[in-house]
């Protein structure tokens, strides 16, 4: 029934702006197998349910490659119809410069305020009370993936939390395994550290540092524990000579490594390899310590266009992206969680169900993207990737630098 309501909402907008068929170029960087399958759900729905055309403008490479291209096109006066961006502070200046379409009327007509869960996702799209983006999914960093085979080979039970994992690491090493698989890309180092922070320093300290930018806490004893743990994890990951995150995940899949700290997108790799959650691998949200999810994710922004026909098409697409059936189809393929709590995802697997439960219970955090500027995040990534790869970089030195970055953060 909700589908009908959404359709009605959509028709209201369509009627209001006398829609004619328009070609809408949509840029995104979802190019891997599962991602492309997910985005084609959007394209299919848009082509079938509206008069308009989805013109796919995929940009190969990661977000790091695609984002500059997208931003320079918007700035350079050649805006696309719609574009993927991580919501949060990346688009802040574009909004301030008046380059992005205000979606507030769509959001009101569709009742986004009531359906988007957690509401922080919509807050990240909001600037001065106006809504500028359509969130489409939730990705969370707070997961550890454990290989059953690796622990069986080492004669150890599969750990249920971080401390047990640390305790079983020597046995893994003895069995010729790498305890912790870790890629060498900067965002992986920074992400894993973020996960450990929430699990080890606790929510309050994390919130004080990430949200309030309190450098004293960042230099304090809670964070010292995190840096000690990270230095320890660094030793456990010393033998994992891989670059990309999926290569690291592959070490876990093949049982060469005990575990990996990685976001829920790793799930897709296990699925492709034909493994079953609970039998071949285990997922631990919040390292099994604090069962929490941070709620980063992807969102679509709509650069301002002169043509009213295109603007109408943009608004229709925005409404469509959040409609229930599109949300289900997209998120099942993508392996991410839907942004509305009112839809049925019984087709989801074990790990996704765990995530949905945590989401429903409200144990959620805003993601780093939403609190720290890309500049600060870049500095943290630089620090972390050096720290994780240089055994001579002491925990105390790294913490000192970390506190400096937080003190300078805006």
């Amino acid at each position: 029934m909700k589908a009908i309501k959404t359709l009605l909402g959509c028709t209201a907008i369509c009627a209001a702006s006398a829609a004619s068929a328009a070609d809408l170029e949509v840029t995104h960087w979802w190019t891997s197998g599962g991602e492309a399958a997910a985005v084609s759900e959007f394209a299919k729905a848009f082509n079938e349910k509206t008069d308009h055309n989805w013109v796919d403008g995929a940009i190969a490479g990661s977000g790091g490659t695609a984002r500059p291209i997208i931003i320079s096109r918007i700035l350079g006066g050649d805006p696309m119809g719609a574009t993927q961006l991580n919501h949060g502070r990346q688009a802040e200046e574009l909004i301030e410069a008046g380059l992005l379409l205000d979606l507030t009327d769509v959001a009101e007509a569709e009742g986004w305020k009531d359906i988007v869960n957690p509401s922080s996702l919509l807050d990240a799209c909001t600037l001065d009370g106006r809504i500028y983006c359509a969130p489409v999914n939730i990705h969370s960093w707070q997961w550890m993936w454990l290989s059953h085979q690796a622990f069986a080979d080492a004669g150890q039970p599969v750990p249920a939390n971080w401390d047990e994992f640390v305790a079983s690491a020597p046995a893994l090493v003895e069995a010729g395994k790498v305890p912790l698989a870790m890629g060498q890309q900067p965002w992986q180092s920074a992400g894993a550290f973020g996960v450990m922070t929430i699990a080890i320093a606790g929510i309050d300290a994390w919130r004080e540092v990430t949200v309030n930018k309190n450098a004293d806490v960042a230099a304090g004893p809670e964070y010292a524990k995190v840096f000690e743990a990270a230095a320890n994890a660094r030793e456990m990951a010393a033998d994992s000579n891989v670059q990309d995150w999926n290569q690291a995940t592959n070490l876990v899949i093949t049982g060469k490594a005990g575990a990996q700290i990685m976001g829920d997108w790793a799930q897709g790799e296990f699925q492709v390899a034909g493994q079953t959650a609970g039998e071949d691998y285990t997922c631990l949200p919040g390292l099994g310590v604090n069962q929490l999810l941070d709620t980063a994710g992807d969102a679509f922004y709509f650069p301002k266009q002169d043509d009213p026909a295109i603007e109408a098409a943009q608004k229709e697409l925005a409404a469509l992206l959040l409609s229930p059936d599109v949300q289900v189809a997209f998120n099942l393929k993508k392996g991410s969680l839907p942004i509305r709590g009112d839809i049925d995802l019984s087709a989801a697997n074990d790990c996704m169900q765990k995530g949905l439960e945590i989401l429903a219970s409200g144990n959620i955090l805003p993601s780093g993207d939403m609190n720290l500027s890309p500049d600060t995040q870049g500095q943290i990534e630089d620090l972390m990737v050096e720290f994780w790869n240089d055994p001579s970089y002491s925990a105390a030195d790294a913490q000192e630098r970390y506190a400096e970055i937080i003190a300078d953060a805006d």
Partner: protein, 299 residues
């Protein structure tokens, strides 16, 4: 080039030539000088995603730049890579050219083999060498497979020597071009020189070092300028081969500039770094230009 030009007397002389040079001079002024000035100005501002000419912060960006370990490592890497690649390119390029110039059979085949890497992009170069240097698939595993179990050659995974892994690929890509320049230079050497050297009974290697190389000075200068500009810009090779890793061991300044400007959305910081790069080029270029042209004018 011999100085055959006539002295310009008045505006009307060589009018066509002057008109013809207008596009070049305009391009040089507007694009090089104009954009450089714009960049330098904005490096003193707190520009984020968009240029913000009114947010003046003085030297803050530079202070932060020189307090960043990643930048310092980048500079150090560029110095190591630059010096090694300059020397090795010239030595390898000249040696190969000298070998090819000894009337060998199949010169064309060898020349093609040495030059083809230059036709490949740095991305392809980086990826191919990444595979070859990969300890699990490449040289290390092959040699270990032959029975030498303790053999270790994994420059890309060892922080201390990772930059030399990049160097291997860089030399592979660029030295062929230097070889061709040198070969052209050697072909331009007058045969009489060789005859005279033979008559005097000077050994071949001595002839090369004390006679031929000094005569090829212009070729060396050209090669030097081309290699040096390639070194300063090295970026895609690093991105394809190591993405700056392990850790920050193979970071280079150009990568810092691009990432700060676009990924971190901090234009001011990126501009400050690129201004420092420009400055370092000038530090090398000005004394050289002074020697080169200052000397000519006196002579």
């Amino acid at each position: 080039m011999a100085d055959t030009a006539r002295k310009p007397n008045g505006l009307t002389r060589n009018l066509t030539a002057k008109i013809a040079s207008v596009p070049m001079i305009a391009t040089a002024l507007v694009i090089f000088i104009g954009c450089t000035a714009w960049t330098i100005y904005h490096s003193f501002t707190r520009s984020r995603l968009l240029p913000a000419p009114d947010k003046w912060v003085g030297l803050d960006q530079y202070e932060r730049l020189w307090n960043t370990r990643r930048w310092l490592v980048s500079i150090e890497n560029l110095a190591i890579y630059g010096i090694c690649s300059l020397i090795l390119s010239l030595v390898i390029g000249f040696t190969l050219a000298a070998l090819l110039d000894r009337k060998i059979r199949g010169e064309n085949v060898f020349r093609t083999i040495f030059l083809y890497p230059f036709a490949l992009s740095f991305i392809v170069t980086g990826l191919a060498w990444q595979w070859i240097l990969n300890p699990d698939f490449g040289i290390q595993s092959v040699v270990q497979g032959w029975g030498w179990e303790s053999f270790a050659f994994d420059p890309l995974n060892n922080r201390e020597i990772a930059i030399y892994g990049i160097l291997i690929a860089g030399i592979w890509q660029g030295s062929g071009f230097v070889m061709v320049l040198m070969l052209a230079g050697l072909r331009g050497i007058d045969e009489e020189i060789w005859k005279a050297a033979r008559v005097d009974g000077i050994p071949t290697w001595k002839t090369y070092i004390f006679v031929i190389i000094p005569m090829m000075r212009p070729v060396f200068v050209t090669a030097l300028v081309i290699i040096a500009s390639g070194i300063i810009k090295v970026y895609d090779l690093v991105v394809a081969q190591t993405s700056g890793g392990p850790g920050i061991a193979t970071e280079v300044p150009a990568k810092y500039v691009i990432e700060k400007m676009f990924q971190s959305q901090n234009l001011g910081q990126g501009f400050a770094a690129s201004t420092m790069m420009l400055l370092s080029v000038l530090v090398v270029l000005i004394p050289w230009a002074y020697l080169e042209f200052g000397g000519k004018r006196r002579g």
